[in-house]
């Protein structure tokens, strides 16, 4: 521990010791002209820097873990509610008061597809990540009853221009035509590809033909080219890649559901 330092206010001489010298050796100023030098924290040392960084990182890490852990439950509830909402949106139910109640009264069940096209009840918990489910070959189908009619909701996933796009496609009971859709995206361009999340784009799919009896025909084309074609849907202006993404997303997913769709149509 170094001794205290005193600085002469007249000439700037620094004296080391327990108290100020009686007379300044340089300018002969009296002791009263000396001021104690306040020790500044040395913030440039290597040890200090490393310890500072380590402590900071540990504090921040604990803080983040604490925040994330204490909010996890609430967030999970929100994600499930949001998934419910998206499924209901695809069934053209857009004004929702109590999400859980509406979901429970509309959706009759969460089913998984067998390879032969038949359905079996999903015994597991409600899932919120249909991308991984699709990859793992667990094909979900939600059976819904809207105004006394049976509808099937299929979750779809794909890639847009900048990131993931996903959605839910509701089919009529015979699986020949689309009843409604809901799409959303992680990071498409606002105003262009981002319009995918808008109702007016999603409503373009309503009533479109899904298949021609053997192949999936539902296609997203460039804006203005769909005309009145029964299975073509207009994409978004200025968002060709997002529109193509929606197209291949629908193609890939519906292709996997083909056994179910065709067998329902042939009933």
């Amino acid at each position: 521990m170094a001794a205290k330092e005193f600085k002469c206010t007249v000439c700037g001489y620094v004296h080391k010791g327990d108290k100020a010298p009686d007379v300044c050796p340089l300018c002969q100023a009296p002791a009263s002209k000396f001021e104690p030098v306040k020790k500044e924290l040395n913030t440039n040392g290597n040890v200090y820097t490393v310890v500072y960084a380590a402590v900071m990182v540990i504090i921040v890490a604990f803080l983040l873990v604490f925040v994330s852990d204490s909010l996890k439950e609430r967030q999970q509830v929100n994600v499930i509610q949001d998934t419910y909402k998206q499924i209901l949106y695809s069934l053209n139910i857009r004004e929702i008061g109590d999400v859980s109640a509406t979901y429970n009264s509309t959706i009759e069940g969460d089913y998984l597809l067998n390879s032969n096209g038949s359905l079996k009840k999903n015994d597991g918990e409600f899932c919120t990540s249909y991308k991984t489910e699709f990859k793992n070959g667990r094909l979900h189908v939600f059976k819904a009853v809207v105004n006394g009619e049976t509808k099937y909701v299929i979750p779809v996933n794909g890639l847009g221009l900048w990131g993931d796009i996903w959605g839910y496609v509701a089919l009529n009971e015979d699986c020949k035509t689309v009843y409604g859709t809901y799409f959303s995206h992680a990071s498409e361009t606002p105003g262009l590809g981002g319009e995918l999340a808008q109702q007016y784009v999603q409503e373009r799919f309503i009533g479109k033909k899904v298949h021609d009896g053997s192949d999936i025909t539902l296609t997203v084309v460039k804006f203005g080219q769909a005309k009145n074609d029964e299975s073509k849907v207009d994409g978004m202006t200025g968002a060709t890649i997002t529109s193509n993404g929606v197209n291949s997303m629908l193609r890939t997913v519906l292709e996997a559901y083909k056994p179910f769709i065709l067998s329902n149509s042939n009933k």
Partner: protein, 206 residues
């Protein structure tokens, strides 16, 4: 003192605006201004984050080792953004969905680093708070002005509501799709800088 505080708060909103004078945060100004709603949400979030991180850094300023100060600033900003994003996810899920991409953009917003480095490292927490709020609002103001023009001319809507009547479209009016492209935001920011420089002649380059 009160006058000085007023200046710290008021200056960045127009006279020393972070976007048009300091030319900070331009990239996010291009990205989020195609529509008004994300622009406002982004403006407010940046205001909150700049103010908070300014205060934290200002409190720590005397202890921060000089050589790793940028890293310290970055860690503080990133931690704050993550916490705010987690809180939004838990209590305002719809807002957090709205913000999805922008929340990440906040961390990289140069206004944050600029203000931390230029102001919070030298000033007390109270002044830093005001400086943060002022700069955030200044940024938000420019974003809102640009987004207003872009959404109105690009989509004919404001906040998603149709404002240009169908009558105009029937008579040949068309939305200007160019407005939705990011280069137009740059041109609009340029126009704002033009107006600004006309008012503050001493900032004009010779």
């Amino acid at each position: 003192m009160a006058n000085k505080n007023k200046e710290i708060l008021g200056q960045p909103i127009w006279g020393n605006n972070p976007v048009v004078v300091q030319i900070l945060g331009i990239c996010s100004a291009l990205a989020v201004t195609a529509q008004l709603k994300p622009a406002i949400v982004m403006g407010l979030s940046v205001t909150v984050i700049v103010a908070l991180s300014n205060v934290v850094i200002s409190l720590l300023r005397k202890t921060i080792p000089n050589r790793i100060r940028i890293i310290v600033q970055l860690v503080v900003v990133a931690a704050l953004v993550t916490i705010v994003s987690e809180i939004l996810k838990a209590f305002a899920y719809d807002v957090s969905v709205q913000l999805s991409v922008y929340i990440g953009l906040i961390i990289t917003n140069c206004i944050l680093m600029g203000r931390l480095e230029a102001f919070a490292m030298q000033n007390g927490p109270k002044e830093s708070l005001l400086d943060g709020i002022g700069n955030g609002l200044g940024y938000a103001a420019i974003l809102i002005a640009v987004a207003f023009v872009r959404e109105l001319l690009g989509s004919g809507t404001l906040f998603g509501f149709q404002v240009i009547p169908q009558w105009c479209y029937d008579h040949g009016y068309m939305n200007n799709g160019m407005m939705l492209m990011s280069p137009m935001a740059l041109i609009l920011v340029g126009c704002i800088i033009w107006i600004h420089r006309a008012q503050f002649k001493d900032l004009q380059e010779k």
